[in-house]
Symmetry: C2
């Protein structure tokens, strides 16, 4: 299988167009059916595969960074008679289990990014549905802040997955129907089992869409609505964005080493692990948000976030056997704190706001990555402020205590900052430290009182900030034992265990999507009724009904 690349740019899009007029952007889905990511299927009827979604994710991201003047985004179809048929069925039927699961996770993250754009950047999404809008197509609509449906006989919304394909609307569909749209559960049951979907007034009555508009007035109504949203957007109209220039990235022939400007991935293939090292700032901190703007995509904070994001996605999709990610850092902790200050001190500045929220999303991506995560806090490292979040995102952390013989780097430290106490929440709405100390407010408060101190291993362990602290004598053995042990466990059991242990405390729509909906979908994605030789996904379009195992589980 070829390496999937998550980097793209509008000039290379095959499936989307961005048209900006004043404060309104139109994001037009016009999928090129002859440009699937893999061979063996065509992307008919605006159906999508990962390639289509990579472009969408890129477009959402660029609108936030490159077009901060935009105050509302209209999501619409570029096809005449169809909005979108959802995820491509032949692609799903042909993809292996891991790809299906990874695909759904990424599309879910992209839908969440759409909602985040409205909540965090004043770029709400308005969905303009003309034509049939089914399955993943309607899940795209569900991720918007406002849905308009045209009132004609051909336009409808539907979640036909259960009746047609024996799978779930797993890209947030079931959860958003009840939790976000507040559709009554029995109506949701009817809707999700009605293959042809629901149109017209009933769609609004059941809260499936916000407005149903006569066909003749549709364009006008969409524009009016977008203008109204844009008028309410807190974003000033006179901002100028920064260009998200291509990443600096080099990959060795064997794929074992990837070097970015601030991130390095070193794969130890036989041991099934990767070490991800983030190098601390290589430039002095921006003195003001305006200076940050001047740095553009070259700002260390933005480079590190983009590079880490790319590295995580690469490992998820292209390196399935790498079961353990080791987070390391190198550099000066004080320099990290100096860099992040411009974000924390200027939440009102659009770019500071964007970069901070981007870090939030990248860290959330780490949280739901189904690989074991460990942090190695070693001499010469810079786990401070937002980089310390990597240690708290990890399933466990090891910290080196004191001087290491023959190592002239400074002893390992861990430094807390305001970044660790609120602005970078997990999907459950809590900071990683609040999750860590769930039910133990005293420990959280004690940690809060030690901000700004370069804590040694003993203090960090005492405060409960790291799992283990080992000195020079024990370090190597302990790490080796852990690495060997972890590699011996069933990858499946670890995925399930970590998904349960990482998110103590409150649940949100987001945790329900990743925890409950996705877990059920994964289950179904293995069942013969869906994916078997004679299952619904394989038989779709063949004119033959699926053969079903009739036992209920």
């Amino acid at each position: 299988m070829t390496r999937i690349d998550f980097q793209t740019e509008p000039a290379r899009y095959r499936h989307w167009r961005i048209a900006i007029e004043g404060r309104i952007a139109r994001l037009i889905m016009d999928v090129d059916e002859d440009a699937p990511l893999f061979e063996g299927y065509q992307l008919k009827l605006n159906s999508y595969d990962l390639g289509v979604d990579i472009e969408l994710a890129d477009a959402i991201q660029r609108l936030r960074f490159e077009h901060p003047e935009v105050g509302a985004v209209v999501l619409q179809s570029g096809k005449e008679r169809v909005f979108s048929a959802g995820a491509n069925i032949r692609m799903l039927a042909g993809a292996d289990h891991a790809h299906k699961v990874n695909f759904c996770k990424f599309t879910n993250e992209t839908r969440n990014a759409m909602e985040a754009a409205g909540a965090e950047s004043g770029q709400p999404y308005i969905c303009a549905i003309r034509g049939s809008c089914a399955g993943g197509g309607y899940e795209l609509a569900l991720a918007c802040d406002h849905i308009l449906l045209t009132d004609d006989s051909a336009s409808s919304v539907a979640l036909p997955e259960v009746s047609l394909l024996a799978v779930l609307p797993g890209t947030g569909g079931l959860t958003r129907v009840t939790d976000k749209r507040k559709v009554r559960r029995d109506r949701a049951d009817v809707f999700c089992t009605t293959e042809e979907g629901i149109k017209g007034r009933r769609a609004a009555e059941w809260h499936l869409v916000d407005e149903v508009v006569a066909n003749s007035r549709f364009e006008e109504a969409v524009t009016e609505r977008a203008e109204a949203f844009a008028a309410r957007s807190p974003r000033p109209a006179d901002l100028t964005g920064i260009a998200l220039t291509p990443l600096e990235r080099s990959v060795t022939e064997d794929g074992d080493t990837i070097v970015y400007s601030t991130v390095e991935v070193a794969i130890e293939r036989a041991a099934r692990r990767a070490r991800i090292t983030i190098r601390g700032p290589d430039q002095s901190p921006p003195a003001s948000p305006e200076a940050l703007e001047g740095e553009g995509a070259g700002a260390w904070l933005l480079r590190a976030a983009r590079e880490l994001d790319d590295a995580i996605l690469h490992l998820r999709f292209n390196e399935l056997e790498i079961g353990l990610l080791l987070f390391a850092t190198s550099g000066d902790p004080a320099a990290v704190l100096a860099q992040e200050r411009v974000l924390l001190d200027h939440p009102e500045h659009w770019l500071a706001n964007e970069i901070l929220h981007y870090w939030k999303r990248v860290l959330k991506r780490v949280d739901v990555t189904s690989r074991s995560l460990a942090a190695l806090i070693e001499p010469g490292s810079c786990f401070a402020g937002l980089l310390a979040e990597l240690a708290f995102a990890a399933d466990r952390s090891y910290m080196a205590a004191g001087e290491f013989e023959g190592d002239n780097r400074p002893p390992a430290t861990l430094t807390l900052s305001p970044a660790n106490f609120g602005p970078l929440p997990m999907a459950n709405g809590l900071s990683r430290l609040a999750t860590r100390f769930f039910g133990d407010p005293d420990s959280l408060q004690a940690a809060q009182g030690r901000q700004g101190e370069a804590l040694g291993a003993e203090d960090a362990a005492e405060l409960g900030l790291v799992t283990f602290a080992f000195d020079d004598l024990d370090w190597e053995d302990e790490i080796r034992i852990f690495l060997e042990e972890r590699a011996s466990f069933s990858p499946d059991a670890l995925s399930g265990m970590e998904a349960n242990l990482r998110f103590a405390g409150p649940e949100t729509m987001e945790t329900r999507i990743f925890g409950r909906l996705a877990a059920w979908q994964n289950w179904i994605f293995q069942r013969a009724n869906a994916v078997g030789e004679n299952g619904a996904l394989r038989r779709y379009g063949s004119g033959r009904r699926a053969e079903l195992d009739l036992r209920r589980v």
Copy 2:
């Protein structure tokens, strides 16, 4: 496979003993290794299968009804050197997927019943661990209100599922470790991957147990603790219980009809559905809680709950292909309201309290039953008060509107009472109506204002209390179409869909156990790493390591 029966009584127990002394009951686990539920394995080391758990569920229930004087329950082992080795591995390796899933669901419900006994009946559970307490054994401990561990080299707590068996601690283990015991997530990670478990002081330090006590003082400490708990129990010591006499139940040879005193199950095997009819009161309502006590197990309210409970469990385990349960009732709605009044008016009376809480548990069992649920509200029915909860537990409901030709029974009505607005919450902590109207408080309030009225179909539909209302002309066709359609869908997709749509709103430890943990466990229970020919469950004890698919999903 032989029919699994959920009815038992202490005289027939093979695995448990109940010893009551004053206000303290001891529930002693002493599994007879030669009495497994199925052939092919022995229940060594106090390991358990469904048969063991059926007795435990019965014992918990009897302590509440038959021994209301008990103010604390000590859970202990009857074996010398082991507390419990958890769910029997050979049983898990040999059981089919549906049985494993059903088994885990039932054991989860039983653990929840232990916690409920403390919260609702003043019968807290104290776990006294001597010897090794592993896997499902420790999950039993986690379901107790207080855990004592003896401090010797042989006694430890462990969740070795991931490392040893490539499955999860799926009987609430992972969730209770983080959410109930508030074990820090990185420590939970270490604990859940440490096969040999944790003993002594560290077990208390990590919150895995509440107390670690020297071996020489252990018995004394357990008794002291139980006495302290009993002294705080709100239950008066001078109560006398009622006997839970055997159910009246007859089953036809073909298994298609089961007749209880108030419940009837009619299976239409070819159509893969069962109709469950609850007949309204066949006796006048008890005038006082004392009169209710006088009726004992003969009280209609208690018979109906026990019979419905038994019917649901039977269908879950013994009728895997019956995909749809149709709830019907027959009788006088006013008589149902008259019966339930004694429960609602006397929450302070121990038996009224027990019966109401039992209804709550039975209805929760309905909620998490992975079959499609529909209510048919027909002429002559009595969907009133607590019986109306069945209509709100259903995935959808159909109500007959007006007179039906040739049917001289009274037209269908639906009657709300205080039972529908709080005392019978779902696992999410909300009433079924509050869940139904999640995000729509006006509708909830409107319904609240109509309590006591026998609502006709039009009113019920207008208030949003039923999904559809059809008159004489359309009824049969509409129902037939629904039944046929539902039967044509993939049972797996329906299980997943219903598990997602039924529980809008807040999450609790309970919903996380059934929604997140169980879904992941189900996924793993299909994966070759666990259940394959060379998977960990099959290879356990063979001296050969499991062969693992190393790709991460």
